[in-house]
Symmetry: C2
Subunit: 336 residues, 2 copies
């Protein structure tokens, strides 16, 4: 075969395999003359070291994994973009795994990764994930691990998150100030801390404005169809809310669709606000008031921290829990 490996190069150059290896790894204990000879031939033959051999030998894969619920979601694709930027710079490869909001799939993915395939991984858990033992056991197995956005506050796993409670408070207050008296909160999962933080910001704002009794929390499920039914019911009911806070982008899209269907005017009859990283949010009818998370930065931060762990640098205390600010972009969907 014409497989080009160290042995082949060594043979053609009448050198020992180890010499060739050293020459290619910039070792300074090799004469510049042979180094050039080796490099020239390597280049000519298009030599690429076999990654499995060197991974096996060095016990590192130059690969990280990104485990996310879904990719058709601007938040996660922006995160991935940030991760990839850092990884490419570091000469690392990126494996992508989608859990599709399925806890069991998530568990088995982590299980498979506990074997050296990756040097580290970053994860945002599915909304059906209730416990974090699978993360803990990865960490105990010694795999560098970083979590982001959908995280667990009760572990020592480094986290990159946003100011969910504060921005949700601000968003809810914004609705109140624009005249809403009955605001619904669409929760994505009662298991996720970010969902609960967002809810708590919402509740706190209601209480501050003496509307604690008017709370209206709709717990959504992982089932899209069912959620849409719930929303339809909500908007068709007698006590229809005059404002709705969507804790994830998908819900905002759903609400828009249902309002179109039911002829409910946004913002006149219903004011809408939602977490969203849609670049087209400003172009919707009407433009959507959005809480924009710094997704790309989250990706960059998370992977930077991950690489620090991989490189065995000790993390500063402040690096174990990083909170990045989201932005509230006010647009027509929430204004009088």
């Amino acid at each position: 075969m014409d497989t080009v490996n160290l042995k082949r190069l060594a043979k053609e150059l009448n050198l020992a395999i180890s010499t060739v290896s050293r020459a290619l790894s910039d070792s300074h204990e090799v004469s510049s003359e042979t180094r050039e000879r080796v490099r020239a031939l390597a280049k000519k033959l298009g030599f690429q070291p076999n990654p499995h051999a060197s991974s096996l030998r060095q016990n590192k894969s130059k690969t990280i994994a990104v485990v996310i619920p879904e990719i058709e979601n601007h938040f996660f694709s922006q995160v991935l973009n940030g991760v990839e930027a850092v990884a490419q710079e570091k000469g690392y490869h990126v494996l992508i795994y989608l859990t599709h909001e399925d806890y069991n799939r998530e568990k088995s993915i982590l299980q498979v990764l506990r074997n050296g395939r990756v040097d580290g991984l970053m994860i945002s858990v599915s909304n059906s994930t209730g416990n974090f033992e699978h993360l803990e056991s990865c960490r105990e197995a010694g795999i560098p691990l970083v979590s982001f956005d959908r995280i667990d506050e009760n572990t020592d796993i480094p986290k990159i998150i946003t100011d969910d409670a504060a921005i949700s408070f601000k968003a809810t207050e914004h609705l109140v100030k624009n005249g809403c008296r009955r605001i619904a909160f669409l929760s994505m999962s009662d298991r996720l801390s970010i969902s609960n933080l967002r809810k708590s910001g919402y509740l706190k704002a209601l209480e501050k404005h003496g509307m604690g009794k008017q709370q209206l929390v709709v717990e959504c499920s992982p089932d899209d169809k069912q959620n849409e039914q719930e929303m339809r019911k909500l908007l068709q009911g007698k006590q229809r809310p005059d404002g709705v806070f969507c804790s994830i982008e998908k819900f905002a899209i759903n609400i828009y669709e249902i309002c179109q269907e039911l002829n409910i005017a946004i913002p006149q009859q219903l004011k809408v606000i939602g977490f969203s990283n849609l670049p087209a949010a400003a172009l919707l009818a009407p433009p959507l008031t959005a809480i924009v998370q710094p997704a790309y930065e989250i990706g960059k931060e998370a992977s930077s921290i991950l690489f620090k762990i991989i490189e065995k640098k000790t993390l500063l205390h402040s690096e174990k829990r990083i909170v990045l600010p989201s932005k509230l972009i006010e647009r027509k969907s929430s204004r009088e």
Copy 2:
């Protein structure tokens, strides 16, 4: 160390490594009794075979690569979703590489992949890619390869594409029938076949309706800012078009933004049509008439074909060039 490998299992069970290996690989030349003993302990200790060792030994990685220009684009994230579905089913891992529309980056990515890291790869080239030698040399190196959407018709590399010329013809004709007499075409790159096919469909429709002289092709560059400038110039010029055909989603978003900025009314003053896989296209102001490509299916098809090649099945002639139909969804942005 507590690393759990075949050696460890063998030791604890007083068996040879090879026996353990056989037991775990369902070999029938091992007593069912020992097989169970082995499996039990393996499960108990959470044994996961070292992928680098077995990849090295078997000369296959159980990994494929997806090389795409960008991920913050619904078309590509839907494709990735389709790929991941098939890969997960096959027990394969997916590496993701972003070229950011940079030919050189694309070349060096393929270069690095020419070494056994992946069992195959699928690619949609960047819009700055003019020649396809880097693909050819991958194929010559024996790496299973499939291209999709942004492909090269002059090679034998299997392709999954859509009916670009036909659907573009239809879209342009739709604009004509809705009264447009001066239709601009925003081309993403004069190097890409899909861009040229889309353009040809546009031109053909103009000619059919005796508007061949009114062609107005704007060649865009990989530079977003510059493209926006070009579009602004186009819409501010004396001979402002009354219709615009955006060959990619991003351009449609840009056009909407610029129209908002310049107070140009869609569709009254300008009718807009564009390739787009945005789920929110129907919610834009006004709802966007879109050419929707079957992105998820492209991902599934492309990876299915890739796995056929990997498994050394011979491809039917009809599998070497698969054309999937796009859909034209007519909405307000293009109607009187």
